[in-house]
Symmetry: C3
Subunit: 206 residues, 3 copies
């Protein structure tokens, strides 16, 4: 692999690990047992990409390359073990999680573009890859998904995905388009957390 | 396209729009943000057909034809915008939603029959296409799915789907079979809403 | 079919029936109507294998062979009818359900191994086949999935699946490997229910 590919691959694994660990922390508060937490962690970290691959009829990424599954399992077990001996603030996982969101968005959008999906579909695949795992995690924990009311989580993903589609359309080289779009996702997400940005909330007059 | 195909296609888009708008109204009551509502709307309007296509290993319909996705998005945004300035009664969407249910049932069943699925499987695909979106919508909103206790929603779909399978088996022309089965779904659903018909409820002796 | 295949096929159908009946009992407590219960029963009994087949890109098992769908439907209707006239203790279904878990674990793992899936993926497919149906059932009923805190349900499945992968790796004949792994699943699950074994629970220090 070229160094840039190795870097992207490594960040992808780090994103999987961060989302798995975050899944363990949420599931732990529900008094799940060890296995329940592992399932939630796997669903949170691998669910988005799995749905993308099933929708696009590609081979599911963690079946093609077992490293993702191993990484998610190890991260979940490590978070479980650590949380029994020390206090793990949920914030610890926010930065790698945001990096993972940026990378999943880019990889999901590029995978769809490579299969000649229409532009809106391609951007939605980026969002699904980035955000669906967190939705499944919250549904399994019987919570209303945080993604739906959190600080521009999926919105950041969609903006970056649309930017990536546009850059590809205008012929920008893949590597630069990916770097730029990923940085935009990261910047929006981190700024939204820092400054408390939110989308307008629906006020039904009923 | 022949006029009848254009009509069916148009009604299909209207059904998608109605289910997307109904998704926005439900999600709004949960104080989701704009993006959360869009996700619920997309899941409600496209989820049933997506599951059908993944189960049957066909190309997912809104990936093959982006119009469905665009329609669902626009309907969700319109319902969101409208609901901020005026009172949108949920009943407004019941008629197009019932038409959409009838059409989704017919298209789902026919898609399965075209792939030589067994008769019971084909009828279930009609029900999944028609009713699964509403189930996902309610699960995402952390509610017990209304479909499970509502006025003959999925039951109407199943009766129509079984009728369509039987008509096809007896050699009735596709167009007539589809029209008849769709009308039966619509008639049962509207009558059930009007007269409060319900299925027997389970009384466990425990 | 050879006698052993007939036996395995029969036990598989019995497992589907037991999980469908258990789904009816849970859904009934939520005051779902008849159709809602049927949907929950189908999701509980067919959901795990469906997800496995979609992830592995195989034809979905109940679409390829309608017997599973018919069995699940009949079992759900029978449980519904019986529960209206007599008291059905939930424990009645625990033994066939455990047998079904063992068989689903074995069949799911073998299906993945036959497609040359990596070992950890193959074992996870066994667990998904065995345990995912119960997760979907509980999510549809708006409950935190029991699998996550129950008596070694999915854990028994995973241990058996890993054993099956190891036995296959060491060249043990398929039939013997399947029998041994299935027995281990059954033994762990029944012992855990009998003696109240549980996995450690997460104690977050937050």
């Amino acid at each position: 692999m070229r160094p840039i590919d190795t870097l992207v691959y490594g960040i992808g694994l780090a994103g999987v690990a961060a989302q798995a660990a975050a899944g363990v922390l949420e599931a732990g508060n529900k008094r799940f047992d060890l296995f329940g937490m592992v399932v939630v962690a796997l669903a949170a970290s691998l669910g988005g990409g799995s749905l993308r691959d099933m929708l696009l009829d590609r081979q599911v990424f963690w079946i093609a390359d077992q490293s993702y599954l191993v990484t998610a399992l190890l991260a979940a077990l490590a978070a479980f073990a650590l949380a029994r001996v020390m206090r793990l603030p949920a914030r610890l996982f926010l930065l790698p999680d945001a990096i993972g969101l940026a990378l999943f968005t880019v990889s999901g959008t590029q995978a769809a573009l490579a299969l000649d999906a229409p532009w809106l579909v391609a951007s939605l695949m980026g969002v699904i890859t980035g955000a669906f795992g967190g939705i499944v995690r919250d549904v399994l924990c019987n919570e209303v998904p945080l993604v739906f009311s959190g600080a521009l989580y999926a919105t950041a993903s969609w903006v970056g995905a649309l930017l990536l589609v546009a850059l590809s359309e205008f012929g920008v080289a893949h590597t630069w388009a990916a770097l730029l779009a990923g940085s935009v996702v990261l910047a929006i997400r981190l700024s939204a957390m820092r400054f408390g940005w939110r989308l307008p909330v629906f006020r039904a007059r009923m």
